[in-house]
Amino acid sequence: MGELKFESAIKRLEEIVEELEKENVSLEDALKKYEEAVKLIEFCSKKLEEVERKINILVRTEDGKLEKRPFEEEVEE
């Protein structure tokens, strides 16, 4: 659902930009559209930055449960 909203948000943004790029937009209309566009950008940016980057590895504890630990790369050559 979130993605659908995102997808339609970015489509709407593209529409607005295209409309604004046409010459015959009134000042009032343009400001209204600009405001909407800024809101859409905020929404999309927020959506894209929601998660923090984490890289974990699952480790089996003695009682058989799985635990997340930060992953340190140790690559065998």
Partner: protein, 403 residues
Amino acid sequence: MNESRYVYTVTELTRHIRIILEDCFPIIWVEGEISNLRKPISGHIYFTLKDENSAINAVIFRSEEMGINFELEDGQKVLCGGKITVYEKQGIYQLQVERIEPLGIGSLQLRLEQLKKKLKEEGLFDPQHKRPIPLFPRHIGIVTSPTGAAIRDILKVIKKKSYNVEVTINPVRVQGELASLEIARAIEEFNQMKDLDVLIVGRGGGSLEDLWAFNEEIVARAIYNSKIPVISAVGHEIDWTIADLVADVRAPTPSLAAEMVVGEKERFIERLSNNKIRLQRTMEHKLSSWRMELDNLITRLNIYKPTQLLEHYKENLKEISLKISTYLLHLLEINKEKISGLMSRLENLNPLTILKKGYSLTYKLPEHTIIREANILKKNDLIETKLFKGKVISRVEEVLENG
């Protein structure tokens, strides 16, 4: 005894042998080494299949040959699938080969084909079962070796893009006896965690034997049963493993699998920033052109402001009045003589001027009308006579009409 002897004809015997042989070996697999390979113009392939102790003639008919995906050569060990047939004319039996595979991976290939067929019939590869990969997965689960090339490649892509995404690795062996069990279990464990958006299951490239775990039924079923969409990433661009066939999406390499999960996000970020720039640019352009238009209007308005207008009119008036007076002066100058002429004529017309010369005006009283003819008067009428200086009032003594 002689009477009970049954004598076969050669044909009968050969046919009998043929029936027995062909019934006994309808579908068989036999392995051996190719020798005496012949490919006559007929298009059929003849060779002898042998091992240390024995040999058997073999033929691949042209129609079967199409299925061979490797080059046959003498000395090559192969696995042949087919049936025993008897060539009655010469009384020889031969292996009629319908399938042939290089030995080693051949038997694996066979198992693979059999499993593929079975799972396909069960619907594990059905396209309608495949789910889309989410556009912005937040939490990616990776089932692979923690020390292999695959994890390194995947993390490299994710780090390079530096997007915010959570990655959890469920470490497994990716080859050997236990690999398939571990892979299947890891997929199930991720499904129990419930907060994952997509799984990448894979390993780096290798031989068919190395990749074998990804061809096992238990892995195929774990992928099929996963509620989380699965990307298979077995590093082998050409051959599809069963895991590839069951997975929702198949990535040819682990790096490409990572691209698939974060690449979409990258494209969106690009799209977003692209639009941001365009929006900013077009608004700046618009605002500056509006600003210019406004400045222009202000300048024009200032010109027509009321005080400005009055000043303007005043200025105009001044100019006009100056023009008029100049014109008048000019006019006066031109007409000076004319005017003085007129003045003297007026002077002449003034009755007082005439009186000055000694003429006088006479009025009848009390009407005070000018008397131009004597006959309007009678004796004893009062008259007033206006002289240059003063008046005289007199009484008429006598009227002389022709005087």
